[in-house]
């Protein structure tokens, strides 16, 4: 229990740190960002200085001549109350824009992550059992290639070959916009059809990392005495693979969960931009090219919160799977 609380505290602290970074990055770093922005608006859009200044202050929730500490507190409370600032491109609330994109990204990533994790684990345990064979070295090579290929390049190639050169799959959008969104079969199949290539890009570039991690973890477990003991007891091979090898080998993989999810979220900026898929990634990509800072920061914050929460979930799952965490302590000597 205390362990969960500790993880929770670290999670909250991480989010707090990220908020603080985004706040101070803009306000305290050299080059006086606010003045720069005012200058940018003046030159780019031909505003007068006062006009530009007011626009910038409004966009970033800045009250002029207010002590920085007070601004900071206000910023924090603003965030908690859902006031994440306003987007400069659309003049809409940042949180509103992001929350529109979140479900699409969450859908894309969670399905891709689940599938690649599952493929990786099965492949990894298979390679571990067949280690040293030709099949193992072939699959390891494939996994290394998967691990090494940048997802944006694969996404681009898939887009180029399977959507543009041979238009088998749609090249843009998360669903056919002529279909009314709803729980109709038409809509759902359209969503799946549109998400196929982006998911493929994620899965093909991330299963390899899991597979290699699982392979080495499973090889380590296969060398453990309890696996040989299980074989000696005449347990069925399936049971040994699942309860003895699989379960113990999966445990260390949970530690790399956050890193991998963060990596995939990073990739979403590319994938969603290329496929014009209306998730957070595309929003951030657009915000970046428009220099829409409130939106960029909001997006970063939202991604961080998602990653931190998913990580907390992974930690809890880990606690459930590993009794050494759940019940610590030794009985007797």
């Amino acid at each position: 229990m205390r362990w969960i609380i500790k993880r929770l505290i670290i999670a909250i602290f991480t989010i707090y740190i990220v908020i603080t970074i985004t706040f101070f990055l803009i306000r305290l770093m050299p080059g006086n960002f606010i003045d720069m922005m005012v200058y940018y608006y003046m030159t780019t859009y031909g505003m007068s200085e006062i006009e530009a200044r007011n626009t910038v202050y409004a966009l970033y929730n800045v009250v002029p001549n207010e002590p920085i500490f007070l601004q900071y507190i206000k910023y924090l409370f603003g965030l908690i109350n859902g006031n994440w600032g306003k987007s400069y491109i659309s003049n809409k609330s940042v949180l509103e824009i992001l929350l529109y994109g979140l479900p699409w990204t969450a859908f894309l990533l969670s399905v891709s992550l689940t599938i690649s994790f599952a493929i990786g684990i099965l492949l990894g345990i298979f390679m571990a059992y067949r280690r040293g064979t030709f099949l193992d070295s072939l699959l390891s090579t494939l996994s290394s290639i998967s691990r090494a290929t940048p997802n944006f390049i694969l996404g681009l190639l898939l887009l180029y070959f399977l959507a543009i050169y041979y238009p088998i799959f749609p090249a843009r959008d998360s669903y056919d916009i002529t279909i009314e969104p709803g729980l109709s079969i038409q809509f759902i199949s359209s969503v799946l059809y549109h998400s196929f290539l982006p998911m493929l890009a994620y899965i093909l570039t991330s299963f390899g990392g899991w597979a290699l991690a699982m392979r080495s973890s499973a090889i380590r477990v296969l060398g453990e005495d309890y696996v040989m003991a299980a074989e000696a007891r005449g347990l069925k091979p399936g049971r040994i693979a699942r309860t003895y090898v699989g379960r113990n080998a999966v445990l260390p993989l949970f530690t790399s969960f956050a890193i991998s999810l963060g990596y995939m979220f990073g990739g979403s900026v590319f994938i969603e931009t290329y496929f014009a898929y209306q998730g957070i990634g595309q929003i951030i990509g657009l915000a970046m090219s428009w220099r829409d800072y409130p939106l960029i920061q909001g997006g970063f914050l939202l991604i961080t919160i998602t990653v931190v929460l998913s990580n907390l979930l992974a930690d809890m799952l880990y606690g459930l799977l590993d009794p050494r965490i759940k019940r610590g302590g030794t009985y007797g000597g």
């Binding site: 985004t22 080059g31 390049i153 681009l156 190639l157 963060g262 961080t304």
Partner: protein, 299 residues
């Protein structure tokens, strides 16, 4: 003179022949090593042989591969191979610089946390945990956006530094764990009894055991640096460097020729240049333990 030659022979055998012999057992790592060397050589020597001419020559645009243009030409009739060769230096410098900075920060922080222990360790571990959870690439975008606006020039070194901010924590954690376990080994206790200094213990006892991690992480940080650097450039989120493979991808996307298929090599060439480099680094990283492990050295 003879003595010097003998030393040279010893160094060659110790640092080149034996590692290669060991690496030869792992075909993939050997492939990775040779490819990496090839990339470095091409980036160093290539620009001297193949000149880069960026003046547009619209009569020659979207030419298919030929003897004159082995990889064809781009939308402005410029040789693709020349751009590819000239861009390598930029990518590799950024990658290795990021690798060095990452490894430097990660190793120092990890050793301090692991060796000192106590409160310092608790604090550093918490920082490591936080940095591991913060999604690196999105943070990179925020920092890049801020850099663009703040007037700080974006050079390869700033990029390397920014890339390392998001990737040192993984190595620091591994180094810390390793340091902690070595610290309690009996040979360290014996060293302490013999009165050998902390610095001796860190440099001569702990560091050699960390070398595989350090070398492996150097490769892997380079991999993620290449990913971020070329990726950001491919999306046009940071200023383009002419010839940089990411920049080539960016340009290729922007022009219709690649969609019609006439300039396919313009998008394929840099893509495969990046993929192949990444694969070589990953292969080498996976095989690196073999080079450093004395158990495998003494056949």
């Amino acid at each position: 003179m003879v003595d010097r030659l003998r030393t040279l022979e010893k160094i060659l055998s110790e640092h080149i022949y034996i590692p290669l012999k060991i690496l030869a057992k792992d075909k993939r790592a050997l492939f990775g090593l040779f490819m990496l060397i090839a990339y470095i050589l091409i980036s160093l020597i290539g620009p001297m042989i193949i000149p880069l001419d960026l003046t547009p020559n619209l009569e020659e645009k979207y030419l298919p591969p030929s003897w004159k243009h082995p990889l064809g030409t781009d939308f402005a009739g410029r040789d693709i191979l020349a751009q590819l060769v000239h861009g390598g230096r930029d990518v590799l410098t950024a990658a290795f610089a990021a690798g060095i900075v990452t490894v430097g920060i990660g190793t120092v922080v990890g050793i301090i946390a692991g060796y000192m222990g106590g409160k310092i360790d608790t604090i550093i571990t918490a920082v490591i945990d936080i940095f591991l959870t913060i999604p690196g690439f999105p943070l990179l975008i925020v920092i890049a956006a801020w850099l663009l606006q703040s007037g700080i020039p974006i050079t390869i070194l700033t990029i390397a530094f920014v890339l390392s901010i998001t990737s040192w924590a993984g190595l620091a954690r591994a180094v810390r764990a390793q340091t902690l376990s070595i610290k309690n080994e009996e040979f360290i206790e014996v060293d302490k009894c013999l009165g050998l200094s902390k610095l001796y213990i860190i440099f001569y006892e702990i560091l050699p055991n960390l070398m595989p991690y350090i070398a492996m992480n150097f490769m892997l940080s380079s991999v993620s640096a290449i990913y971020s650097y070329t990726g950001l450039m491919a999306l046009g989120l940071i200023p383009l460097t002419p010839g940089n493979w990411g920049a080539m991808i960016n340009m290729a996307q922007a022009y219709v020729g690649t969609i019609t298929g006439a300039g396919a090599t313009y998008i394929l060439a840099p893509s495969f240049a990046i993929i192949l480099l990444q694969i070589s680094l990953v292969f080498l990283a996976n095989g690196i333990d073999k080079i450093f492990n004395p158990r495998l050295r003494e056949w």
